[in-house]
């Protein structure tokens, strides 16, 4: 009998120790930390649980969905161009041109846009290069390319942020939504149908792009800065989340930019000219941004008025001194 009880307690002890063992391994798998004499980034953690989840999200969800979305966007734009064609000026050009974008606005636009394209190409190379460029360039060739792409991406990123913030500051006022924008959206901005919905200096579509750029751009910038400085000992989880937000926002931006570039170049007659030379034809202004055009005309009339008044008064002064 005594022996039997002894046996039972022994069994109890051993199953307890087996349970402890299971417990510790479960905790380790969940990422519990301990002590390590080796210093370094999270060197006291045996297993990080989020690694394989991040891998799945990057390789399957982001790369897979992203490729589909990019392809669909390009197809949709091509299809739209085939069906709708270019949005032409409905009346002949007046020959008179008014200023739409100042010199500094144009510089800022193309500064940020070139950096954006550079960042998009180099960023996408890191994501898709392995499947698209390696068969083409070989492992050695692609590695050399990717090395440069990574350096360009990591250093030009912060420069893009500078442009983004400046755009946000100078175009903020023009991009606040108002009631006119509702009608603009309802009539699809005149892209579908033949209406010419009213718009101020920025139409509702431009405003939507502005806000997408600001929100996704800020996300891309913050997370990009974080990815740029892995020397700050961030937890891997922070880097993984940063990477996911960075890539998802980057895709939103790239898709938005494709639409933006389409509308600004082949999609609309006269738009690109405006951003390059800074001036647009009055006909273009009246068709696309009637409220802004009106305001502009009123302002010129006022300016002319006050200027002629000034002229009159200086003439009087002049004549006064002559006497």
């Amino acid at each position: 009998m005594n022996r039997f009880i002894l046996f039972l307690t022994a069994l109890g002890f051993s199953s307890q120790s087996i349970a402890d063992e299971h417990n510790i391994w479960r905790q380790i798998r969940e990422g519990i930390g301990g002590y390590s004499a080796v210093t370094g980034q999270e060197s006291n953690i045996l297993i990080q649980a989020s690694g394989s989840q991040w891998l799945y999200i990057r390789n399957e969800l982001i790369a897979g969905t992203g490729a589909w979305l990019l392809a669909l966007t390009v197809l949709a734009l091509a299809g739209f161009f085939l069906i709708r064609g270019r949005v032409k000026l409905t009346e002949p050009r007046s020959g008179e041109r008014i200023e739409r974008w100042s010199r500094s606005e144009r510089w800022l636009h193309f500064y940020t846009a070139s950096l954006f394209i550079l960042l998009a190409i180099t960023g996408l190379s890191l994501l898709y290069g392995r499947s698209i460029l390696i068969p083409w360039l070989g492992h050695d060739g692609f590695s050399r390319f990717a090395d440069i792409a990574k350096i360009i991406h990591n250093y030009t990123g912060p420069l893009f942020t500078v442009g983004l913030v400046m755009m946000g500051m100078i175009w903020f006022q023009d991009n606040l939504f108002n009631k006119t924008d509702l009608t603009w959206f309802k009539q699809f901005g005149g892209l579908i149908g033949d209406k010419h919905p009213s718009a101020g200096r920025m139409n509702a579509g431009e405003k939507a792009w502005f806000w997408l750029l600001m929100i996704a751009g800020v996300l891309v910038s913050i997370t990009g800065m974080n990815l740029d400085f892995p020397n700050l000992d961030q937890y891997r989880l922070i880097m993984q989340i940063s990477h996911i937000i960075h890539s998802v926002s980057a895709f939103l931006l790239i898709i938005g930019a494709l639409g933006h570039i389409y509308i600004g170049t082949i999609g609309t007659e006269g738009a690109l000219q405006g951003m390059i030379t800074g001036k647009v034809d009055k006909t273009w202004a009246r068709q696309h941004h009637d409220l802004w055009y009106q305001q502009h005309e009123n302002l010129t009339v006022q300016k002319n008025l006050s200027e002629s008044k000034k002229n009159i008064s200086t003439e009087q002064n002049n004549s006064g001194t002559q006497i």
């Binding site: 002894l6 022994a10 069994l11 002890f13 051993s14 120790s17 402890d20 510790i24 905790q27 380790i28 519990i32 301990g34 002590y35 390590s36 004499a37 080796v38 370094g40 980034q41 999270e42 060197s43 006291n44 953690i45 045996l46 297993i47 990080q48 649980a49 690694g51 394989s52 991040w54 891998l55 990057r58 390789n59 890191l126 994501l127 290069g129 392995r130 390696i134 492992h139 050695d140 692609f142 590695s143 990717a146 090395d147 990574k150 990591n154 250093y155 990815l227 740029d228 400085f229 892995p230 020397n231 891997r236 880097m239 993984q240 990477h243």
Partner: protein, 204 residues
């Protein structure tokens, strides 16, 4: 074909850190890079558990799947190696690896981390076996000399085992069974050999 594995017996690891010293010395691993480390859970409490960990040479390695330049390869022995000439130091392998094995030699500002370094299972790299270039980049190639990884070879308690996965796992399970039996053996008259492990050690 043998698949090389590491196995660490947490009942035996005494956190002496000799495996780490051996590794650093054998391969002349640069400052700040550690291919192996020992982690102690519940340090200082009764029942603390120490485990030595390095690259586990995964079968379907996450690092290899995520690498943008595809620089990993698995040898015939199942060892996961990488080509430092291709690596661009993006750090993605470190984010994907469950065991924190990939290490980087540089400080990392603006993403400049240098070439990734990790445990090679003492099997060198893509360069010619035991060449100077191989030693420079990856350390000694003991496998090519017919030797097993140094960390496991010199582990004093034989907590760390290295070798063909089938063989070392059999070794380990026999050890576990014996240890369990000798723990349950409460009879002081018993002739049963007691197999050493922390739990048996504390009990005696």
């Amino acid at each position: 074909m043998a698949r090389m594995k590491f196995l660490c017996d947490d009942e035996r690891c005494i956190e002496c850190n000799a495996c780490i010293t051996a590794c650093k010395n054998e391969h002349e691993v640069p400052w700040g890079v550690n291919r192996r480390r020992v982690v102690t859970i519940d340090d200082g409490q009764q029942g603390e558990t120490s485990i030595s960990v390095a690259c586990m040479h995964c079968s379907d390695a996450p690092c290899a799947q995520v690498c943008p330049v595809d620089c990993f390869y698995t040898t015939e022995d199942g060892v996961v190696l990488h080509d430092k000439d291709l690596c661009i130091g993006c750090g993605y392998c470190f984010y994907a690896c469950p065991f924190g094995a990939p290490q980087f030699p540089q400080d990392g500002a603006f993403g400049n981390r240098g070439k990734m370094d990790k445990c090679t299972y003492c099997a060198g790299g893509p360069e010619e076996d035991n060449s100077e270039a191989e030693f420079e980049k990856y350390g000694r190639n003991r496998l090519a000399e017919g030797k097993l990884p140094l960390c496991a070879e010199m582990c004093s308690t034989k907590a760390l085992l290295a070798g063909d996965g089938d063989i070392i796992s059999k070794l380990f399970s026999e050890r576990v069974v014996k240890r369990q039996l000798s723990q349950e053996q409460q009879d002081p008259e018993s002739r049963q050999v007691k197999l050493w492990g922390w739990k048996t050690a504390y009990k005696d």
